[in-house]
C-alpha cells in the first residue's frame, strides 16, 4: 500500500506540473462557430406554467424569426429543467458553459437558481438574461457585469401594485411569503412601500416553496386582522393560496387578497369568478397593442396558451441579444454587453426599454386589474390595464442601487 501511495502522489504531482496554462486567444467573430442559447427554467414544477416549455417555444420563435443564423453562423437552442433546485441549476449551467459552448442563458425562473447561475456566468464570462426571477439582489448586491435582469423585478411590482392598494385604503398588511430569495425580497420591497405610504405591516408567515396546504398560514393571516393579505409567492403556490382563501371565505369577511406577482396563466387557472377585481403589476399583457396582439397570437398557435411576461420577455431578450451580436460583429460577451447597453429596446414586449449599468432593463410597467366575468369577451380576455407607469418611475432608481458596477 505504501508503494501505491507513493505512486499516487508522484502521479498527482506530474499531473499538476505537466499541464502548463495556455492563454485563451481573444475571440473575434463567432466563438466555436455557433451561437448557442440555453433555456434553463422550471419545466415540471410550480412555475412550469409561467415559464416551462412556453419559454423554450418563445426562444425558438425568436431564433426562427431572426433567420436561424447570425453573421453566417448557425444559432442553436438547448434547454434543461432545473426543478427549482439551485444545485441542479448551477451544475447544468456550469456544464453548459464549460463543455456545451453555450453563449447565453435565459429563462431562469426562481431567484435561488437565478442567483446561482448569474454568478457562474460572471465567473465564466457568459451573459445571463433573466426573464423569470424577481429578486432585486440580481441587480444590487449580487449584480455582475454579464447579468441582465430583463422582464421585471420585485421593486417594480411592489412599487406599482403595493402603492395602488395602499392608496385605496389597504393600510394594514399581513404577508404569506415563499421562504426563499424571491419571497424574502418581495416581502421586503412591498413592506418598504407600505410603510412609506403610511401603512403598517402587522406580521408575516413563511411557507416552503411548492406548498399544497395553506390552511394554517391563511388562518394566521385571518386572525391577524390585517386589511390586506399580501401573497409574496408565485405560480402554483399563489393559485393554491387564493383557492384555499376562497374556501375559508376570507374575502367575504372583508379582507383583501393581494397577489404581488401574478401571471396571466395564474388568473386563467383561478378563473375570473375567483380572481375578479384583483390588482397587480406586470411588465407585459398580450392584449396591450397591435404588436403585442400579433405576436401573442402567433405564440398561441404554437403553445395553446397566451404568453406570460416571462415567455414574451424571453423572446424579446433573445431577439435583442442576436441583434446585438449582429451589430457588434462578434459574440464576444464584452462587446455584446456594450452593444446591448447602448441599444434602445422597443418591441412588442418592452416600451422605452434601456439596459442600465447594474443590468436592470428599465421599461414601462402596468397596473393590471382582473376583469369581471361580464366584461370578458373571450377565453383570454381576462385583464385590463389601469395605469401605465414609465420605467424610470417604476424601477429602483440607479442612485439607490448598491450594485458594484454602478459608478458613483
Amino acid at each position: 500500500m505504501n508503494v501505491m501511495l507513493r505512486k499516487a502522489l508522484a502521479g498527482m504531482l506530474i499531473g499538476v506540473l505537466a499541464s502548463t496554462p495556455a492563454l485563451a486567444a481573444p475571440a473575434k467573430g463567432i466563438s466555436d462557430n455557433v451561437v448557442k442559447i440555453g433555456v434553463l427554467t422550471d419545466m415540471s414544477g410550480v412555475y412550469s406554467a409561467i415559464g416551462g416549455k412556453g419559454t423554450l417555444t418563445a426562444v425558438e420563435m425568436a431564433v426562427a424569426d431572426f433567420g436561424g443564423t447570425v453573421l453566417g453562423k448557425p444559432i442553436q437552442v438547448v434547454s434543461a429543467d432545473h426543478q427549482n433546485k439551485a444545485d441542479i441549476a448551477s451544475t447544468k449551467a456550469r456544464e453548459w458553459f464549460d463543455t456545451g459552448k453555450v453563449d447565453m442563458v435565459t429563462g431562469l425562473l426562481n431567484s435561488a437558481c437565478a442567483l446561482a447561475v448569474q454568478k457562474i456566468g460572471a465567473d465564466k464570462k457568459r451573459i445571463t438574461m433573466n426573464t423569470g426571477a424577481g429578486s432585486t439582489d440580481l441587480t444590487n448586491k449580487d449584480c455582475t457585469p454579464y447579468g441582465i435582469h430583463y422582464a421585471y423585478d420585485n421593486y417594480a411590482l411592489a412599487n406599482v401594485a403595493g402603492s395602488a392598494i395602499v392608496s385605496h385604503g389597504g393600510k394594514s398588511w399581513y404577508f404569506i411569503t415563499a421562504d426563499y430569495a424571491f419571497g424574502h425580497s418581495l416581502e421586503k420591497n412591498t413592506s418598504n412601500f407600505v410603510q412609506k405610504l403610511g401603512g403598517k405591516v402587522v406580521g408575516s408567515v413563511r411557507h416552503p416553496l411548492s406548498t399544497a396546504d395553506f390552511s394554517s398560514y391563511l388562518l394566521q393571516a385571518q386572525s391577524s386582522g390585517a386589511k390586506v393579505i399580501g401573497l409574496a409567492n408565485a405560480g402554483g403556490d399563489f393559485t393554491n393560496a387564493v383557492k384555499q382563501a376562497r374556501e375559508f371565505g376570507i374575502v367575504q369577511k372583508g379582507q383583501t387578497i393581494a397577489g404581488m406577482l401574478v401571471f396571466d396563466t395564474d388568473v386563467k387557472s383561478l378563473g375570473l369568478n375567483t380572481a375578479q377585481g384583483m390588482q397587480f403589476a406586470s411588465g407585459f399583457y398580450w392584449d396591450r397593442d397591435k404588436a403585442s396582439r400579433d405576436w401573442s397570437k402567433r405564440f398561441y398557435a404554437k403553445h395553446k396558451a397566451m404568453p406570460t411576461m416571462d415567455q414574451a420577455g424571453a423572446y424579446s431578450a433573445t431577439m435583442n441579444y442576436l441583434k446585438a451580436i449582429k451589430a457588434a460583429g462578434t459574440d464576444d460577451p464584452d462587446a455584446v454587453m456594450a452593444k446591448l447597453r447602448s441599444m434602445n429596446i422597443s418591441d412588442f414586449f418592452a416600451v422605452n426599454g434601456k439596459i442600465r449599468a447594474d443590468g436592470r432593463m428599465v421599461h414601462d410597467m402596468y397596473l393590471m386589474e382582473v376583469k369581471k366575468p361580464s366584461e370578458s369577451k373571450g377565453e383570454w380576455d381576462i385583464l385590463k390595464i389601469i395605469k401605465t407607469v414609465p420605467g424610470d418611475q417604476a424601477f429602483m432608481p440607479l442612485s439607490e442601487s448598491v450594485c458594484s458596477q454602478v459608478k458613483k
Binding site: 499516487a8 485563451a24 434543461a80 429543467d81 441542479i88 451544475t91 456550469r94 446561482a116 426563499y180
Partner: protein, 313 residues
C-alpha cells in the same frame, strides 16, 4: 486484491479529467466516497443508517460557511467539515446503536431530519437558496484551486480535480484499511452474529460506535469536497432523498464489496446526469432499475461479477 487492478484504477483516475468533463468526474468521486463510507457501515457492520445525508450535507454547510465567511483555506475547510461530521456521527451513533434493525434506521432518520430542519431555518445556511458562491480558495494558501487550464480546446480545472482525487484516495484507502484490519474482522463478526461476538468478549457497542463515527466522518469529507466543487451547499445535500440515494448506490453496486459502492455511485450519478432532460421521471427510471437489480442480481453489479470470477472484489 490484485495490484494491477489498483494501478489501472489509479491511472484511470489520474487521466479521467482529460477525457471526461472534470466537474462531472469530481461529482462522481464525491458520491463514490460517500457510498464507500456508507458501505463501511451497511456492508461490513450490518447497520442500516437512514440519516447519512446529515453528515454529507452538514459537512458541506460547515465547510462552505467557514471557507466563505472565516476565510479558511480549502484543506482546513474540508478538515473542519470532516470533524464536524465525525462529532455529529458520535452523537447520532451513541443514541442509535442502543437499538437494532428498523428502530436503528428510524432513529438515524429522525435525527437527520432535525439537521434538515436546522438547515432550512438557521440564518447562515441560506434556507432554500442554499449557501451560494463558496470560494475554492488556495490550497495551503498557495495553489489556486480555481485555476483553469486551457489545453486542447478544453477548460480543465486540474488543480481542484487532483485535490478532490487526493481526498477520494485518502478516504478510500482509509475504508480499505479499516475493512482489512482486525477491527474490520470484528465488525464482520458482529454483522454475522452479534450475540456470538458478545459471548466472545467483544464490546460490540463500542465497535459499532467507532464504525459509525468513521463512516460519518468520511461521508462528511465527501460532502465538504462537493461544496468546494460546486461552490454550493444546498438543502438537497441534507434531504432524506440523499440518504436514500446512497443506500441505492451501495445496493446497486454490491453490498459489502470494496468496489461496489464506486460502481453504484457511478451508475446513479451518470443516470441522473444523462437523463436530466426527462426531469422528475429520473426517479421512476432509477426505481425500475433498482427493482430489476434486487430481483435479478441481489449481490449488485460488482457482487455478481465477483461471484462469476470467484473472488472478492
Amino acid at each position: 486484491m490484485n495490484r494491477t487492478l489498483w494501478l489501472v484504477l489509479l491511472v484511470a483516475g489520474l487521466a479521467a479529467p482529460f477525457v471526461i468533463y472534470p466537474v462531472f468526474v469530481m461529482e462522481l468521486l464525491c458520491f463514490a466516497l460517500f457510498a464507500c463510507a456508507f458501505n463501511l457501515l451497511l456492508g461490513y457492520s450490518g447497520l442500516l443508517s437512514f440519516g447519512h445525508a446529515a453528515f454529507f450535507g452538514g459537512a458541506a454547510y460547515v465547510t462552505g460557511y467557514l471557507v466563505k465567511n472565516a476565510g479558511l483555506t480549502p484543506e482546513l475547510g474540508v478538515l473542519a467539515g470532516t470533524l464536524f461530521a465525525g462529532a455529529l456521527g458520535f452523537v447520532f451513533g451513541s443514541l442509535a446503536i442502543r437499538r437494532q434493525g428498523i428502530y436503528f434506521a428510524m432513529i438515524t432518520l429522525a435525527l437527520a431530519q432535525i439537521i434538515y430542519f436546522v438547515a432550512i431555518k438557521a440564518p447562515f445556511t441560506g434556507g432554500e437558496d442554499g449557501l451560494q458562491d463558496i470560494p475554492r480558495g488556495r490550497l495551503l494558501g498557495m495553489l489556486d484551486l480555481d485555476h483553469v487550464y486551457h489545453l486542447w480546446g478544453k477548460t480543465l480545472e486540474l488543480n481542484l480535480y487532483y485535490f478532490v482525487f487526493a481526498l477520494f484516495c485518502i478516504g478510500f484507502w482509509l475504508v480499505h484499511r479499516t475493512i482489512h484490519s482486525p477491527f474490520g474482522q470484528v465488525l464482520k463478526a458482529i454483522r454475522e452474529n452479534e450475540p456470538r461476538a458478545v459471548s466472545l468478549g467483544y464490546k460490540v457497542e463500542r465497535f459499532k460506535l467507532i464504525a459509525f463515527v468513521i463512516s460519518a466522518s468520511l461521508a462528511g469529507m465527501a460532502g465538504s469536497a462537493k461544496a468546494l466543487v460546486f461552490q454550493l451547499a444546498s438543502l438537497t445535500d441534507v434531504n432524506w432523498h440523499t440518504s436514500g440515494e446512497v443506500v441505492l448506490m451501495t445496493l446497486l453496486g454490491g453490498l459489502g464489496t470494496v468496489l461496489g459502492p464506486l460502481a453504484g455511485a457511478f451508475t446513479v450519478v451518470t443516470l441522473h446526469s444523462k437523463l436530466s432532460a426527462i426531469g422528475s421521471w429520473v426517479t421512476v427510471v432509477i426505481g425500475a432499475i433498482f427493482v430489476i437489480c434486487v430481483l435479478a442480481f441481489r449481490r449488485g453489479f460488482v457482487g455478481e461479477l465477483g461471484r462469476l470470477l470467484k473472488r472478492s472484489l
